[in-house]
Symmetry: C2
Subunit: 420 residues, 2 copies
């Protein structure tokens, strides 16, 4: 059985996602496609525009056979932890044979070469890394600077300086490298492939073509509601789901929708608590606390708090960590326990029945289909703790949904798994 794995957010599912699936299927020719998808909070530290069940259905109607939720403990993390969570989930299935991700580079070989250096950390490379960190570069910058010099010394320059820049500053390639590094570190048998990205960049707001970034689509949805413009950028079935969800008041949800809660939690939290949140470096808690007092809204808080070193996205992630109580201690404990502790299924296609049968035999962690049975299904206390963070994420996310009926809590125990 050839099974293709994809790690995604589908926030919302658009033509670029469809292109990536189609091209990957052309290349790998899998029997089934599995997507590991973020739940209610995404890698950039943002509330998803509509809920995870709607987004899972979008994927199922466009070539994905099975959607597994990336636990909230991993979905709003740095590229390294996000990739670790995603790849480990694919490893844990025991059925995935290939993983496909988009990148600006377009061919897998140069990426694998770099990823091996990052995974193995040869002594010379480590020294270079140390040197650049000592010169005050941020970690990703220092690391790639070290890669350039290390490969240059070996006489195997892989990229030109301008290509390097692309890798250093493009989210997709950074993620791609982290996926590969995790594959090596976990001695995975999964074969990586990459599809060159098409259309505007990840964060571009250009929404004129058929392919637009998810950021541009969300921006259009929140600020203009230009349905015709949005319709052009999404597969029809996906567009219908989005439109119906918004019309019924299930969205759009953004971090702004949770503004009072975010600011209230920070104003209310003792400094010592903020200090323990994931990604809060020494001293940053003071800045966060102060800016939450000075700001009159969330956007102002983010603008006041961010610096060259603590970028906007990082502060947003910290917001999510604070919201969900994701402390450094918890994240380390989860990592030591082997990462994601269960395969929580959000939906599947009917034709995937043989895949599910196979999955039941090969999965290395429990498969969670009925959330109400989570206590029986998850024997390990760490798994239960991790799952309760997913439940909390939904319960707090729900408070940001426009229509009152969906603000009800514990939807993780009442929403049905989507079967297409």
């Amino acid at each position: 059985m050839v099974v293709l794995g994809i790690i995604a957010e589908y926030n919302p599912f658009h033509n670029g996602h469809k292109y990536h699936i189609d091209k990957s299927v052309e290349l790998v020719k899998p029997d089934y496609v599995i997507a590991v998808m973020s739940g209610h909070f995404t890698q950039r530290g943002e509330a998803a525009i509509i809920d995870k069940w709607e987004r899972a259905e979008m994927a199922l109607r466009n070539g994905v056979d099975l959607v597994i939720e990336l636990p909230a403990a991993y979905s709003s993390q740095t590229a390294e932890l996000f990739a670790f969570g995603g790849i480990q989930l694919l490893n844990h299935t025991g059925v995935v044979t290939h993983v496909s991700f988009g990148s600006e580079v377009g061919s897998i070989q140069p990426l694998t070469s770099i990823a091996r250096i990052l995974a193995n950390e040869p002594p010379q490379f480590k020294e270079l890394l140390k040197k650049h960190l000592g010169q005050g570069l941020s970690f990703p910058q220092a690391r790639y600077r070290a890669v350039i010099e290390y490969t240059s010394k070996l006489g195997c320059n892989i990229f030109s300086e301008s290509q390097w820049e692309k890798i250093i500053y493009s989210s997709n390639s950074i993620l791609a490298l982290e996926y590969l590094r995790t594959l090596y570190k976990t001695n995975s048998n999964i074969q990586p492939v990459t599809i060159p990205r098409t259309g505007p960049s990840y964060s571009s707001l250009d929404i004129n073509g058929k392919i637009a970034s998810a950021t541009a689509i969300r921006n259009e949805l929140v600020n203009r509601m230009g349905w015709n413009t949005i319709a052009r950028t999404m597969p029809p079935s996906s567009f219908e789901i989005l439109k119906n969800a918004i019309k019924s008041g299930k969205g759009p949800v953004t971090n702004h929708s949770l503004e009072q809660l975010f600011l209230g939690i920070i104003r209310r939290a003792p400094l010592q608590e903020i200090k323990n949140w994931m990604d809060v470096d020494e001293g940053l808690e003071n800045r966060i606390k102060q800016c939450a007092q000075d700001a009159t809204n969330l956007e102002e808080f983010l603008t006041l708090t961010k610096t060259k070193r603590y970028v906007y996205t990082r502060i947003q992630r910290i917001l999510i960590h604070g919201l969900l109580g994701l402390t450094k201690e918890k994240i380390i404990r989860f990592r030591n326990a082997g990462g994601p502790q269960y395969l929580r299924i959000l939906g599947f296609s009917k034709k995937a029945t043989p895949l599910l049968k196979q999955l039941k035999q090969s999965a290395r962690v429990p498969i969670l289909t009925k959330s109400a049975h989570y206590y029986k299904t998850l024997k390990n206390p760490v798994a239960r703790e991790m799952f309760m963070i997913d439940v909390l994420a939904t319960n707090l996310y729900s408070l940001g949904i426009p229509e009152e009926q969906f603000k009800k809590g514990n939807r993780d125990f009442t929403e049905k798994i989507r079967i297409i």
Copy 2:
């Protein structure tokens, strides 16, 4: 120097409050009037309709010479603790000679007789109390039942059954008894007087006359904005302050304004945390947690959570305790430290200069006029801790203010003391 003390909320200041001040002044003929006033959260567990500085000014323009803030640790408590906080603040001034409160009873003698029994707890009374509690009555009910039987046995029936009913079920008389009890327990030299209440009852929504309850005025303000109706019920200066505050977006603030924060905090709090909040009896934390999941809004949460035993007001108070982190442990610690630890001045009239001079010599706790100097002024760590709860109360209250500019935090350090 004859100084009259009043404990109040002025939420908002209306004709009934004015009547109470005028009648009290007629009776006591004081040189000055001091009001101890709740800050941003009130005894019924509600966010005040406008901020404490505006409400202090209302009082100053209508016969009060000095407004002292009742710390947030005491302002949203049961009658017993609220009264303890208020009376202790008056005791701490060292200048107050009289205290006046409204009651349905109208004359001080019968109230003092009962309050002495409650303060001294003679053995026979204690036995009767125990008996009624054992029969499943709530504490206030059992206590007053015990008072009836105890006084009857002594052959001194003070009230008829219907008069008892009035005392048992009227907030004002319950508070009056607690004020008196605290006066005895603290061996206070302050003389109590009472003014019979006039107009509709405390919780009546009748707003047709010149005297209406603060509840009725708030209701009119939030649901209908009938300015002409409201104008009839308030002194003109007080009405102007209210109207200007509302027009500039400083209000109206209600618990509904903080809905996302209240529900979010409960959904996010571990059961063990909720269990430690003040007024959460054994097992109630489970009910609170469950109802916060089931409810889609705050009103629904309160309706779902309340029972015969855990009344609406108590659940509202618990909301405030949770918001401000007021645990049982803190409240006990504050009580053991002697109650309110400072006199925080919100405003005064220019003619009160001699009073302030006297106050500086006689006060038993530090006087806080410049909040920015709180760390220097308050040497005692318990005092600092108590004051930081007031600051937190303002910072979270502010998030519920309609106009964005007032959502800024730390207004306790930037708002000027009101001088009239």
